[in-house]
């Protein structure tokens, strides 16, 4: 029974939450920029509007890819709610991410192509970091299962402070926030138009948007694991983390992918390594 409730939560509640977060994000960003901003529900209106648009396609592969993306994103959130294996969740999430890139590659538009290449660099940058964060969690709890984390008496943040920062890096890249919004960004007025999402349109772009909401929830869920011992801890940690993300998004300019790969790997890998050695030494 509990499992069924968790699955329904994963499938239905998670995207609603993700959409709401996107709305709040836009509202806060507007506030930072001294604008009024759209209503909090705007992301839902946007998606509803997209679903009503005419289907305009460059090829049918993008349809396949959009569907698989949303399926994999949903499945990864459901696995998270069912407290499954962290690595498994990462791999299932990767199915979606990779199909999205393959869909972008299948369109011949140069914007889409360059965006797809850049998205792969983003994946290349964050994936090893997330694996190392999970390895840190494993060394701290003795298991990759989320259920094991909830049975801990002390917050993970205490033993994995550096890995939390590394996770922050990875998440900023995953959410494509400045300074890491190379492959696509929220604003379609950059040099790459809408980057690797350029050719996804109408109902299929709506699916991609919903998939993104699932991913936001998954990402914030991963953050919550670091203070899983109390509800207050979860809310405070996730709230502060997301506020920081929005702040960084607004104050940073976009950098180049070379800078991202070099600096994030240098910082991220060394910090993870130091933190892993601490755990190993215990």
């Amino acid at each position: 029974m509990r499992a069924v409730v968790l699955v329904i939560m994963g499938v239905v509640v998670a995207p609603l939450l993700g959409g709401l977060i996107a709305g709040v994000d836009r509202r806060l960003t507007a506030w930072f920029q001294s604008r009024y901003g759209p209503p909090v529900w705007q992301p839902f209106f946007d998606v509803a509007k997209l679903f009503g648009k005419e289907r305009l396609l460059v090829n049918t592969w993008q349809v396949v890819c959009a569907y698989i993306y949303v399926t994999a994103a949903m499945l990864s959130v459901v696995l998270f709610f069912l407290q499954s294996d962290l690595l498994l969740i990462l791999f299932v999430q990767a199915v979606g991410a990779i199909f999205l890139v393959m869909g972008a590659f299948s369109a011949t538009s140069p914007f889409s192509q360059v965006g797809a290449n850049r998205e792969l660099i983003q994946i290349l940058t964050y994936e090893p970091l997330i694996i190392l964060v999970f390895v840190g969690i494993y060394l701290a709890t003795g298991s990759f299962k989320i259920s094991e984390i909830y049975s801990q008496t002390e917050p993970l943040l205490k033993s994995l402070p550096l890995l939390y920062i590394v996770l922050g890096y990875a998440l900023t890249i995953k959410l494509r926030k400045s300074p890491f919004d190379f492959s696509t960004s929220h604003h379609a007025h950059q040099e790459l138009v809408k980057g690797f999402l350029t050719e996804y349109s109408g109902p299929y772009l709506a699916l991609v948007e919903i998939g993104h909401w699932y991913e936001v929830v998954l990402i914030l869920g991963l953050c919550s694991l670091f203070w899983a011992t109390s509800w207050v801890g979860i809310i405070v940690l996730v709230g502060i983390t997301y506020l920081c993300e929005i702040l960084i998004d607004n104050v940073m300019a976009r950098m180049t992918w070379r800078w991202m790969l070099g600096s994030v790997w240098a910082m991220g890998l060394s910090m993870s390594f130091v933190n892993l050695i601490w755990l190993h030494g215990r």
């Binding site: 289907r55 396609l57 592969w61 399926t71 690595l87 498994l88 590659f105 538009s109 994946i123 890998l269």
Partner: protein
């Protein structure tokens, strides 16, 4: 029964090879290849059903097998020596003469032949290897029949060289079967040398300048492996007084000087499996016709290397040697994955991917826990199917578009829909869940998590693999929409192996719980996972194979259904900043002239370029190998 099974699996291919060589009628040769393939595949299954055994074969034609082996060895080494002289390669000559002298002295004056022990022993590891070799290998041989006809038509040869080609293709399978079933390491050595000669002949098959140069490189590197093997054999005999593999494994635990033979055997295995700094022979092997690459990379040759490491792994569990093996493997995994990212040649990407995956298997052999060994064996099986599939589809593409460059394969779906789809499927089975290669990788990562210096290269290497696979798959599909893609013509002998391998790659992944329970568990002291409803579970993690397969499959069916419905949608050319013309592949440039749209893949040559990294990677790889051998002497 066992006698005839072993005869068919080991001697059978040799006889078939001789027939292929003698009978110069193309159709009969094709029949021989087909019949041998079927026979080997069926016999390997029967042998598997028959179960583990240890067996002493009767004298062949009245002569005990050990004499046959000695003669075969001498003929082999002399043949190799002939080629070393013909190609004027000094280092090969030295290595071969060294092996010849050592072997004959060892065989004739040192070994006490009165000691009786079964020369053939099979446990599940051997039987799984026989299955992989015989089934995947046979499918590749079948694919080679139409492939080689086209290949030679393209070359416009006066005299067909196919008899030699097929002879060695088949011989390699027989030798591999022999190698994995041998308990007597003198037998093992002989089969090891057959694969060396076979690969040398197959690589040089086209007789171009590059082919000959690369084949000589393969020869000396593999001869180095052979020399290490022979030293290991003599060392083992001097210290342990035995040439029986099982005894050597048991003796490894005594540590110290006893470990040296095992270290040398691992070294031989790593050279054979093209680990850094010996990767160049396998990269050079891609000049050969594609079935050769497919055979060497997927089910034979390089798998002989990892087999040796896995076979002797229980002997060095928990030693420094084991850690060194892990380090070497992890380094190769990282370096090969990084270099693959900078490649645009499809075969080279596949080659680096093979080297990387073999590195991962060595990592598992070095970690040496039941979990890691599970990962290694599953990876051998799944990698063989997916890699053979990819090589064969790339071979088909090469014959059709005349290039191996993945940029030229852009939009291949519009020209070769069937091959493109199969290649994309192969790529997906190599990197994504719920397919077997990723399952094995998941087990490997969980097993390696306590080894800090291993997990970082594994994490980075896996991400690099994702990069080079997914962009290739994407590019294959990259074409403007065409409502009716013309179906692709494929002969039955081309299509059948491709479909069988594709089916194998997908279905075997579904059978992973069964493979694990039936093939892997009997080999291990304690099963590392419990399986319930297709979910791999232990206290450290869980892989919900069937549930995620079910959900992803449902998603896939919906996706395909939706894509079918979307055919009614409006199709447009891609967005080109409003300057598009009626042709989706051009935009309106200066003076209203159409300009073709081009875009390329990022290869990151400034970071991962082959020229940049190879020297350093070879130095590091060499030092790690020195550590492996030196560390064993402590």
């Amino acid at each position: 029964m066992l006698d005839s099974f072993l005869f068919i699996l080991i001697i059978g291919p040799f006889i078939a090879a001789v027939l292929c060589y003698i009978v110069r009628i193309p159709h009969i040769r094709s029949l021989i290849v087909l019949a041998t393939g079927c026979l080997l595949a069926v016999t390997s299954v029967l042998l598997f059903i028959n179960g583990s055994f240890s067996h002493t074969p009767p004298p062949l034609l009245g002569v005990p097998p050990r004499w046959w082996v000695l003669w075969a060895d001498d003929i082999l080494l002399l043949t190799m020596l002939y080629y070393a002289f013909k190609r004027r390669h000094l280092f090969s000559k030295i290595l071969i003469i060294f092996q010849f002298v050592c072997l004959d002295y060892f065989e004739l004056f040192m070994v006490d032949h009165d000691k009786v022990f079964p020369p053939f022993v099979a446990d599940n590891l051997s039987l799984v290897m026989v299955l992989v070799i015989s089934i995947v290998g046979s499918l590749i041989c079948v694919f080679a029949i139409p492939y080689m006809n086209k290949h030679e038509a393209h070359q416009k040869l006066e005299k067909s060289r196919q008899p030699v080609f097929f002879a060695f293709l088949i011989v390699i399978m027989g030798a591999m079967n022999g190698l994995v079933l041998s308990n007597n390491i003198i037998f093992m050595y002989m089969f090891f040398e057959v694969t060396t000669l076979g690969s040398f002949m197959l690589i040089s098959h086209d007789q171009t300048e590059t082919a000959i140069r690369n084949s000589v490189r393969a020869l000396w590197m593999n001869c180095l492996a052979g020399a290490a093997f022979i030293v290991a054999m003599i060392w083992a005999y001097v210290t342990q007084n035995t040439v029986e593999a099982q005894k050597l494994i048991a003796a490894g635990h005594m540590g110290g000087i006893m470990l040296m033979p095992l270290a040398l055997l691992c070294f031989a295995g790593m050279v054979k499996a093209a680990q850094f700094p010996f990767q160049s022979w396998l990269l050079g092997a891609m000049v050969a016709p594609t079935p050769t690459s497919a055979l060497l990379h997927s089910s034979t040759m390089v798998k002989a290397g990892v087999y040796i490491a896995l076979r002797f792994a229980p002997g060095f569990a928990g030693t420094f040697l084991s850690q060194c093996l892990t380090a070497c493997g992890a380094f190769t995994f990282l370096a090969a994955s990084a270099m693959a990212v900078s490649q645009s040649n499809g075969k080279k990407i596949l080659a680096y991917s093979t080297i990387g995956n073999l590195g991962l298997i060595f990592v598992c052999a070095g970690i040496n826990t039941p979990e890691a060994i599970t990962a290694a064996i599953l990876l051998i099986i799944f990698h063989a199917f997916s890699k053979a599939l990819l090589f064969l589809s790339v071979g088909g593409m090469e014959q059709h578009i005349g290039s191996l460059d993945i940029e030229v394969m852009r939009g291949l779906y519009a020209r070769m829909p069937r091959t493109a789809i199969i290649a994309v499927l192969g790529i997906i089975t190599m990197m994504l869940p719920p397919f077997g290669v990723l399952l094995s990788k998941w087990i490997a990562i969980e097993a390696a998590s306590r080894h800090l210096f291993v997990i970082v290269p594994l994490a980075v290497g896996s991400a690099l693999m994702v990069v080079y696979w997914s962009r290739w798959a994407g590019v294959l599909l990259s074409a403007p929409y065409e409502p009716h893609v013309a179906p692709e013509q494929q002969g039955v002998l081309t299509r059948l192996p491709l479909l069988a391998l594709a089916g194998g790659a997908v279905l075997l992944s579904l059978c992973a719980p069964f493979l694990y329970a039936e093939l892997v568990v009997p080999m291990l002291p304690a099963p590392p996972f419990t399986i319930r409803a297709g979910i791999f579970e232990n206290p450290e993690g869980t892989f919900a194979l069937y549930p995620i397969t079910l959900v992803l499959a449902l998603g896939f069916v919906c996706a395909v259904f939706a894509a079918g419905k979307a055919r009614k949608a409006r199709f447009e050319g891609p967005y080109l900043s409003g300057a598009q013309t009626a042709d989706p592949e051009t935009f309106e440039g200066p003076m209203g002239k159409p300009v073709a749209v081009t875009s390329g893949i990022y290869y990151f040559e400034s970071i991962f370029g082959e020229e940049k990294l190879t020297v350093w990677a070879n130095i590091c790889g060499g030092m790690l190998m020195a550590l492996l051998i030196g560390g064993a002497v402590r």
